[in-house]
């Protein structure tokens, strides 16, 4: 059997056990868990690079998992996200309970879940990958056991997540009944060659979309977002906001351009409508927020709206735009969250008012936050601008000009509330002027993320070529 195809996944499985065992070491001889976790992520990256020549062949493993350019590209995204989350956890460590081995282990199980989703070729793998990812996140969200808000976040996420998993499984069952199998080829053939697609198959598709809509926080499945974002530990919020959303959008991309492609005429208007609802809910909701984590939660709903807009085109250009958007979103969001983590202790909380005069206490943190927020808002020449431009262009091509108009209006709304944060950081007077110390690991990571925001925004050609190799 071609085990080389599974090398990165097997590496992750190995490291899940390594993290678990490392936690058992006696306190005096305990390894630095964050470096061990980073080592595991480096190991996975090496295995991915080693596997890279196999991507072009697109082979599948027992028709369950396939290694393609698409999966390889997204696995790189997820690995990068996990690496930054480890740095965030390092910075945040003080707040977390003692046994961090389990926390890092859950990060690796979440990463394994995203890898499975990236390679999936079967509806079973869709379910298992999502469960692996969200199970880990349920537990991580409640990790601050002493804080009622964290428990509340974990509880709300668990209950709503279970309901959405129920939708997903019911949808998969209906599709299985329609196609007689769960593999993507079987389902796609059933949709392609069916004389009339029965209503149950449509219902199955809608239920699967609902289950995934929960993951990317699309309206109306996003009610959990603000509370979970506010209560969960900030590194977990970053993982939720980037990793989970990216996984959901990627899964949608695979399903919509794969098994659901034959009935594109049915889901395209559906997604366009969802996109409008999500954009307005996220961006209008963000206007009233006073807590930066809640605000970022609402803004992440807004970004899900743009992702849905790109998906609703159903074209290759739309798929590429969504991938580029996710790449830009990854750098910008992680940069903003890392600044929030680095500053929150010194400024005394997560309220927006706490960020008054941040520029006078740490010019570096304020500048990174400024760049990250502008990139999220879509200001040229930063990464987020190119992502939004590509999504809007693909939507223009698909002929839904009203949707483009809604998207453009939302850019303006988002810019307003992002700039309000910037105003607080630069124009308002600080409560105290003591400088904020930024540890070296955090500082280097922030430089890398800023470099990412700038390079992805200015020098798009290599990334576009990279992404267009998907198909």
């Amino acid at each position: 059997m071609p085990w080389g195809l599974l090398a990165p996944e097997l590496g992750l499985c190995l490291w899940i056990l390594v993290m678990l065992l490392a936690d058992l070491a006696p306190a005096t001889r305990k390894p630095q868990l964050s470096w061990l976790a980073l080592g595991g992520i480096g190991f996975t990256a090496v295995l991915l690079a080693w596997q890279q020549p196999l991507w072009a062949r697109g082979e599948s493993f027992q028709s369950m998992l396939a290694v393609t350019h698409f999966s390889g590209l997204y696995k790189c995204f997820f690995t990068a996200t996990a690496a930054v989350v480890v740095i965030m956890t390092r910075q945040f460590q003080r707040h977390l309970p003692a046994h961090l081995g389990a926390f890092y282990m859950l990060l690796f199980t979440a990463l394994l879940g995203t890898f499975v989703l990236a390679s999936m070729r079967d509806l079973l793998m869709l379910f298992l990958g999502l469960e692996l990812l969200t199970f880990s996140l349920y537990i991580m969200a409640a990790y601050l056991k002493a804080e009622a808000k964290s428990i509340e976040a974990g509880m709300k996420y668990l209950i709503l997540g279970s309901v959405s998993s129920g939708f997903l499984v019911y949808g998969i069952a209906l599709l299985y009944g329609f196609a007689g199998g769960t593999s993507f080829t079987q389902v796609q053939n059933a949709f392609t060659y069916a004389l009339t697609v029965p209503a149950t198959a449509y219902a199955g598709m809608v239920l699967v979309l609902a289950g995934l809509g929960f993951k990317i926080a699309a309206s109306p499945f996003n009610l959990w977002v603000p509370d979970v974002y506010e209560g969960a530990p900030t590194p977990v919020v970053a993982l939720l906001s980037v990793g989970s959303k990216m996984a959901g959008a990627m899964a949608l991309l695979q399903l919509l351009t794969g098994i659901f492609a034959p009935i594109a005429a049915f889901w395209m208007p559906l997604l366009a409508a969802l996109s409008v609802a999500t954009l307005l809910y996220g961006n209008l909701g963000a206007l009233a927020q006073t807590n930066i984590k809640r605000l970022l939660g609402y803004s992440s709903i807004g970004h899900a709206g743009y992702l849905l807009m790109g998906l609703s085109t159903g074209s290759v250009a739309g798929a590429e735009a969504v991938t580029y958007y996710l790449l830009a979103y990854l750098f910008s969001t992680l940069a903003v969250f890392l600044v929030v983590i680095a500053a929150s202790d010194a400024v005394g909380g997560d309220a927006l008012e706490d960020y008054r005069g941040l520029s006078q206490r740490s010019g570096f943190l304020a500048a990174v936050m400024f760049l990250g927020l502008l990139s999220l808002a879509g200001v040229p020449p930063l990464a987020g601008f190119v992502g939004k431009l590509l999504v809007l262009l693909a939507t223009v091509e698909s002929g839904r000009l009203w949707l483009v108009a809604v998207g453009a209006v939302n850019v303006a709304i988002a810019l307003y509330y992002y700039l309000l944060i910037v105003k607080r950081m630069y124009l308002d007077a600080p409560r105290q002027t003591q400088p904020i110390a930024v540890p070296a690991a955090t500082r280097v990571t922030l430089y890398v993320l800023v470099l990412g925001i700038l390079v992805v925004g200015i020098w798009q050609a290599p990334f576009l070529r990279w992404i267009s190799a998907i198909r």
Partner: protein, 171 residues
């Protein structure tokens, strides 16, 4: 003949126990009645020669799931007045609707299988054995099977970390 006798015996016991699950006022007795239901169901599986499914039925439902139910009920430790307030018949409308829906689905399945003689028996015949399940589990569904074990691992670790009482750290 003996088969018919055993079938009616187990089915009768199962229906009686199921009746007791629904109408017993004490949740504890309900769960114990459910245990009887599960055992009778396992016996029916044995009569269909699905020995593996029968064993799983006993191990998983009777062994694990019901013990969990018992734990939860004993943990809640409902007072008699709270039990008296719980009205069994609050949900009867919904239950009746669901029952009608189930009857409708079963009728459709039997109607379909009456047209296509043997479809039901052909679909269910060889799949209940240990061999057949093992073949599927360790060949076709090997990867999903192993992944499930990682999900369970994550859940166990999560339950332990979240449920553990935090010892004040020695600094």
């Amino acid at each position: 003949m003996a088969e018919a006798v055993f079938f009616y015996l187990f089915t009768g016991a199962m229906l009686a126990a199921a009746w007791s699950v629904v109408f017993n006022r004490q949740p504890l007795y309900s769960v114990l009645s459910l245990l009887v239901v599960m055992f009778c169901l396992a016996a029916l599986f044995v009569m269909l020669q699905a020995y593996f499914v029968a064993a799983l039925q006993v191990l998983l439902y009777a062994g694990a799931v019901l013990v969990l139910f018992l734990f939860v009920i004993m943990l809640l430790n409902l007072a008699p007045e709270a039990l008296a307030r719980m009205r069994v018949f609050t949900w009867q409308g919904g239950g009746a609707l669901l029952g009608l829906w189930l009857a409708f689905l079963l009728a459709r399945i039997f109607a379909a299988s009456a047209q296509d003689e043997g479809a039901l028996s052909a679909a269910s015949a060889p799949r209940g054995s240990v061999e057949a399940v093992g073949q599927l589990l360790f060949e076709k569904y090997l990867i999903p099977f192993e992944l499930t074990s990682f999900i369970i691992l994550a859940a166990i670790i999560g339950a332990v970390t979240l449920g553990k009482r935090e010892v004040p750290a020695k600094r």
